[in-house]
């Protein structure tokens, strides 16, 4: 039962985080209009993607972010074209955070608060800096080659989006580290961190 139940639980958690991504992106964002009928926005959707990766591991966390944000994109006329890009990027964020937090630092095996704090911070910074760098670049190529936007404009867009992505990343890192470290003890106690220390 353990294995099966744990899968169901992990799936349910993934679904929940995907929903959180969606809700926070859709209802808690400030849109910034941009040249070209495009827009970027200040939002904290990525925070839940990272949170997912910290809690559930890279794959599931990335998946949660990818699903949640892609649905959110698809529901938004301004973002709809970026949906495939979003899916790919969020999955990557998740994988990177998961890699740092779980494979390098193994934070789930630790009970040392400071250690966990430090590494959750490092992992989120890693994941979101990836986003800060990759989002504009991938966005640029995506816009230019796949959507065929004029080069000049794609460049402008990339610059802008780099700026907001950076702001988002900073806010998200703070938020996610705060939330993760606050939520962790509770989840740990109720056995919700799926791979918990063996005892």
């Amino acid at each position: 039962m353990k294995t099966k139940n744990q899968t169901v639980m992990k799936l349910a958690q993934t679904a929940l985080l995907a929903a959180l991504c969606f809700v926070s992106f859709t209802f808690l964002q400030i849109k910034i209009p941009m040249p070209g009928g495009d827009a970027t926005s200040l939002h904290i959707g990525n925070a839940f993607c990272v949170l997912g990766a910290l809690l559930l591991g890279g794959w599931y966390g990335g998946l949660a972010g990818a699903i949640g944000m892609t649905i959110a994109d698809l529901m938004d006329p301004i973002y709809i074209t970026g949906a495939p890009k979003t899916f790919f990027l969020k999955l990557c964020i998740g994988l990177i955070v998961g890699l740092v937090a779980h494979h390098i630092a193994k934070i789930n095996d630790s009970t040392d608060k400071k250690y966990v704090f430090k590494w959750s911070l490092i992992a989120s910074i890693a994941g979101l800096s990836f986003n800060v760098i990759a989002d504009p670049i991938v966005g640029y190529f995506y816009k230019q080659y796949i959507l065929g936007q004029p080069q000049k404009m794609a460049e402008v867009l990339a610059k802008w989006s780099a700026a907001t992505t950076f702001v988002n990343a900073v806010v998200s890192v703070i938020l996610v580290v705060f939330i993760y470290n606050a939520v962790r003890p509770i989840l740990l106690r109720s056995g919700l961190l799926v791979s918990q220390p063996k005892n």
Binding site: M1, K2, K4, N5, L188, R189, G191, Q196, N199
Partner: protein, 283 residues
Amino acid sequence: MSVCIEFQDVSYAYPLTKKAAVRHLNCKLEKGKCYGVIGPNASGKTTFCNLMRGLCPKFYGGILKGNVLVEGKNLEEWEDGELSVRIGYVFQDPFAQVSGIKETVFEEIGMGLENTGVEQEEMIRRILEIAKVVKVDTLLQKNPLALSGGQCQRVAFASVLALDSDIIVIDEPTSQLDPDGTMDVFEIIGALKRQGKTVIIAEHKVDLLAEYCDEIIAMAEGTIIAQGTVREVFQLQILREKKVRIPQVVTLALLLEEKKKALSSIPVSEREAVAMLKERGDI
């Protein structure tokens, strides 16, 4: 009568807790009887139910010592799916028990049946039957997420009853219900007993437990402090020492005894109490 669940010196601690939630549990539950589990908060009632259902330690993790036998077989030897069909479990918190993936109460109740591969006609028949019994037949078309606390509790109860398990474990099924709703639930439990099912029910409303259960298991601080028939258990001094709630009719009888107006024996239900008082006939 045959034993269907047996605890052999069971101790269990949840993960990351130092203190064991329950210690040295020893008891035998017989087939076809109704058991009431009572005790103060945090005395381990829910843990006791979880152990029986195999959720401790398989789901929660933690350390289990001793053996829990269901129908003579150690819990670990049971297949997961099989156990969930064999033992129906209604959880403590009614609000959290809606699966959330079905859009009507009708389908919510049917979900367990879908998972066990029941044919459609049979499924519909059973859902309607259960809905009538639990009095949710007027809610069938409602969305499970838009129910009031009491209604939620009934639907959760119904969806577990639909599986028609032999053993039914119910953890505080009436916490959100009005007095009439509470009576309804106990009526249903009475009916289940008549169908020959084994019912284990953890509750704070001891008055009704006394009326409907065959045996009472009293817990305090993680141990079983008493097990026996209703009349035996509720007379025990230790219950009052450990601050376990006892039925009002019992309190009444004990108070009368103090006043030297003792009844012929200790009543366990209102009906009995009234009968005894009338029989004495001195007002």
